[in-house]
């Protein structure tokens, strides 16, 4: 296999792919560079909105272009989380499991559950579709983890040879602290 076509990519994204096909993909001596574009096509077909997807960052979340000057995080349900340079978790909903009973609902056996005297489980949901987007198991007082902040301009220009039209050094500046200052 030298290239993964759209049909196979769709099966992979949807989790209905045959193990033999997956193994063939793994045996590719060199990954197909065009995969990224095929991936975006498959993902774009699956969502009901028209904003161009620039990158997938989560099972449900995408960095999309909005209008001429915005790049925002958007859920496949259509909910928007604003500027992608701000950790999207701050715009999500959160539930905290902070006692033994609640922790044992998601870890088994009970002895494997984190200790609520030391740790808490944070679950992040989309405010609209309520999909569980992320889980953190951390001590109280721990800052939210910004799991993925891609340098889109550099990736599109240097890695994919298709520079974005609105390139600017400003795009790869983490704006989380700026947003927090407004809370």
């Amino acid at each position: 296999m030298e290239q993964v076509d759209k049909g196979l990519m769709k099966q992979l994204v949807e989790g209905h792919i045959a193990d033999d096909d997956v193994n063939e993909m793994r045996r590719m001596a060199k990954k197909d560079a065009a995969r990224f574009w095929t991936y975006l096509e498959v993902l774009q077909d699956k969502v009901s909105w028209n904003n161009p997807i620039l990158m997938r960052v989560n099972d449900h979340l995408y960095i999309v272009r909005k209008g001429e000057n915005e790049r925002v995080v958007k859920c496949d349900c259509g909910h928007e989380y604003g500027d992608y340079r701000v950790n999207w978790k701050l715009k999500a909903d959160i539930r905290v499991r902070d006692n033994q009973e609640k922790m044992e609902q998601v870890y088994y056996p009970a002895a494997a559950a984190p200790d609520p005297e030391w740790m808490e489980i944070r679950e992040f949901y989309c405010p609209n579709c309520v999909a569980q987007l992320a889980v953190e198991v951390v001590p109280p007082g721990y800052p939210l983890t910004f799991e993925a902040f891609p340098d889109l301009d550099r990736f599109y220009r240097e890695y994919m040879n298709r520079p974005l039209s609105d390139e600017s050094p400003e795009w790869f500046q983490d704006k989380t602290a700026d947003y927090i200052a407004t809370l």
Binding site: K89, P109, A112, M119
Partner: protein, 737 residues
């Protein structure tokens, strides 16, 4: 021009190791190419010859492992993946590696550099067929003293052209706490038999005093001497092979080809990185408890509990290589969970080498594409030479999994889903010492749950149990009989998968495995502890993958002075997993002093019929668990990997199993349960911005337990993380954390 000779060595200066190391570093710095090699001249002139040459090198190290490992008696070295043999350049840069834990290639140049910097060429001399050994984290790049190295110089007419190297994890390291990963250590003087690089033999033969040291300073002397002979046997084979190859191809070809091999693989690995990664900033963390309060009464400064914070940011440098910055990780402490940069790199490269050194020659080229930053004063670079490094693995495998998580997120984001999974694998080693009835003392390590764990979930399918080892391609949990034979009182009452024990999600991680060790004929004394990764107080990593839960930590259960004898006499069933031990206790079927430990237990003095049970090797989930197909949940119940009661709270699936093992799904109740769970997500959650304000108040009022505040003080003592922490909670510089 007259040849300038190195005084005392009888060698031209340019043939000395010191000169070569200096030249190599300078040329790389000035040109950006290994040894300044801009053209692969030999490869281009005759590619077939070049590839045949490399094939000979590769065959030499592969053959070394496949033969030499049978010299060992310890299962870790012989049948599992706890060893590696390698050929390096004169400067210690790896050219070829056998199967095994290949990330140790990061340590070889540290040892060689130490010997060069300390004028070993003059004293004690570095001659063809000499034998050097080391296991010192500070000077040799060893992660911990349990990993022991042998290095044999290969010299032609006095000029060192390479080293045959080997490393394996030994059975016992000779520390006050027996085993090979001591936890209850204060400083390096409690790490056991620690030795910086030293000459221990000549002409491919160890000195007698060296065997005597192993016998006197460790509790598994015979095993360790045989491991030492195993390493040397392989290095001797490499030594002989390389002499033959150098004679056949000529020394000048040999030296130039080695430079080209590393430069070629450096470029190919860089290309692999660029073709799979996405420039950006990827953050992750994990936590590891050190629970020593009350257990270090003699050493008051170590008598404390510490939550060790592991923090890392993964990014991409200008060329496309990896930058790994551990700022924010805790300061080093008076415990065994520290390491020095060489050993930290061995941890980091567990994931990087196996992921990117493919479709090319696996050499030091991989190391040259990674910049690791270990801040002075941290657990990865203590600002003292006396820090204990007895068990860096207790947290460094988590450190590397944070880095690997970033890599696998990249695969997901770029569309290479077939390569993406949740890279987590909690590991456990049971260790200790005893005295048999006849007075024979011994020490031991059981490697079984080190040798293999579960694959994490993929974005399109579940993970699989017992199929992955971070540190080696040779995932192998060893034979039960081997461990029972070598560790006299240990017998498996149970050894199987622990149902439900994984990180859950739309796709669940591979289920972890459990052993119930039953003690028999414990003789005069038996003391047991563990050396392993994160305990169940914390999860393995702190972030799950896209809505999945991270893998749980290791579970340890002890059942002392129990009623097993009575159960046996009555023909009753006995527990086969750690979870079952606790169930039996809850139901009153197993009685006695039964304890579930979510931290490292102090040494347990054990007698006949006592139980030590553990569950480890669990991996992480991927995606929202309420998106998991109901049929997959039912199937998990049917095959015994998910208890039906837990299926309801975790997945909202209401099902029951009858005595024949048939599973019945209640579709209406499942629909209602899932709706209830969705509703509770709405009613029990709040906007994160609101939560942030409440949490900030907690942080400002210090209503967080003192050990955790200490952790934050430790992490924020590093300038960059201090800025990050204060910015996140919007704290001004005068606020005292």
């Amino acid at each position: 021009m007259a040849t300038v000779m190195k005084e005392g060595l009888g060698l031209p200066v340019e043939k000395t190791l010191a000169y070569k190391l200096q030249q190599k570093d300078e040329l790389y710095k000035s040109s950006g190419h290994y040894w300044g090699v801009k053209e692969l001249t030999l490869k281009n002139q005759d590619p077939i010859k070049f590839e045949q040459f490399y094939s000979r090198l590769q065959s030499a190290v592969f053959a070394a492992r496949e033969k030499a490992r049978y010299v060992a008696a310890s299962p870790g070295g012989r049948e599992m993946g706890e060893s590696v043999w390698a050929l390096t350049t004169a400067e210690g840069d790896t050219l070829a590696m056998s199967l095994g834990f290949i990330s140790h290639c990061a340590a070889f140049p540290v040892s060689v550099k130490h010997m060069i910097d300390n004028d070993f060429e003059e004293n004690p001399g570095i001659n063809d067929g000499d034998v050097f050994g080391t296991d010192d984290p500070l000077t040799s790049g060893a992660p911990h003293p349990g990993d022991t190295y042998t290095l044999v110089p290969i010299a032609v007419e006095g000029e060192v052209i390479g080293w045959g190297c080997a490393v394996n994890h030994i059975m016992e390291a000779g520390a006050p706490q027996a085993g090979s990963w001591p936890v209850f250590t204060v400083d390096t003087f409690m790490d056991g038999f620690v030795f910086p690089p030293m000459k221990t033999g000549e002409n491919l033969r160890q000195a007698k005093w060296w065997d005597n040291l192993w016998m006197r300073r460790t509790r598994a002397g015979v095993m360790n001497v045989l491991d030492d002979k195993m390493r040397l046997a392989g290095c001797s084979m490499i030594h002989r092979s390389i002499h033959e190859i150098a004679t056949e191809y000529g020394v000048e070809y040999y030296k130039q080809a080695c430079k080209e091999i590393i430069e070629e693989s450096r470029l190919m690995i860089l290309d692999n990185m660029r073709s799979m990664l996405i420039p950006g900033r990827y953050e992750g963390s994990s936590f590891r408890i050190s629970m020593l309060k009350g257990q270090q009464q003699i050493w008051k400064h170590a008598d404390k509990n510490e939550m060790v914070h592991v923090h890392g940011v993964f990014s991409i440098d200008e060329k496309g290589g990896i930058v790994w910055d551990t700022e924010g990780s805790s300061r080093w402490g008076y415990h065994g969970f520290n390491g020095y940069p060489g050993g930290s790199d061995v941890g980091l490269f567990l994931g990087i080498t196996t992921t990117f050194a493919h479709s090319c020659k696996a050499s030091a080229g991989v190391n040259m594409n990674v910049t690791s930053i270990y801040h002075k004063g941290s657990i990865y670079n203590p600002d003292t030479e006396f820090a204990s490094c007895a068990n860096i693995w207790a947290q460094s495998m988590q450190m590397q999994c944070i880095s690997s998580s970033a890599i696998h997120r990249n695969f997901f984001m770029r569309g290479y889903l077939e390569e993406a999974f949740a890279p987590e694998d909690s590991w456990d080693g049971v260790q200790g010492s005893g005295v048999l009835e006849d007075g024979t003392p011994y020490g031991f390590t059981n490697f079984e749950w080190v040798g293999g764990g579960a694959m994490g979930a993929y974005p399109f399918k579940d993970g699989t149990p017992c199929t992955w080892a971070q540190h080696t391609q040779l995932c192998n949990v060893g034979n039960s009989e081997e461990f029972e034979y070598l560790i006299p009182p240990f017998h498996h009452l149970g050894r199987k998968l622990e149902p439900g024990y994984c990180g859950h999600g739309k796709y669940r991680g591979g289920v972890g495995q459990s052993s119930v060790h039953w003690m028999q004929e414990t003789g005069q004394r038996l003391g047991v502890t563990r050396g392993g990764s994160a305990t169940s107080m914390t999860t393995f990593l702190s972030s799950g993958m896209n809505g999945g839960y991270p893998a749980p930590g290791v579970v340890t259960v002890t059942a002392l002075d129990n009623n097993l004898a009575e159960i046996f006499a009555n023909g009753g069933d006995t527990p086969t997993t750690a979870g079952e031990v606790l169930e039996y206790a809850k139901e009153g079927k197993l009685t006695g002093n039964i304890t579930s430990w979510n931290y490292d237990p102090p040494e347990q003095s054990m007698g006949d019929n006592d139980i030590w049970a553990n569950a480890a090797g669990a991996s992480g989930g991927w995606g929202d668990p309420l998106e998991r197909e109901i049929s997959s949940v039912v199937e998990d119940i049917r095959i015994g990997q998910l208890p039906a009661d837990f299926a309801k709270t975790m997945y909202g699936v209401v099902a029951s199993m009858n005595e024949l093992g048939q599973v019945f799904l209640d579709e209406a109740a499942t629909k209602a349960e899932r709706e209830t769970m969705f509703t509770s997500r709405k009613t029990e959650s709040k906007p994160t911005s609101e939560w942030w304000k409440e949490q900030k108040a907690k942080v400002e009022s210090h209503t967080i337990r003192e050990e955790l505040l200490e952790m934050y003080r430790s992490s924020t003592s590093f300038e960059g993380y201090n800025k990050h922490y204060r910015a996140f909670w919007n704290l001004d510089d005068t606020f005292e954390i």
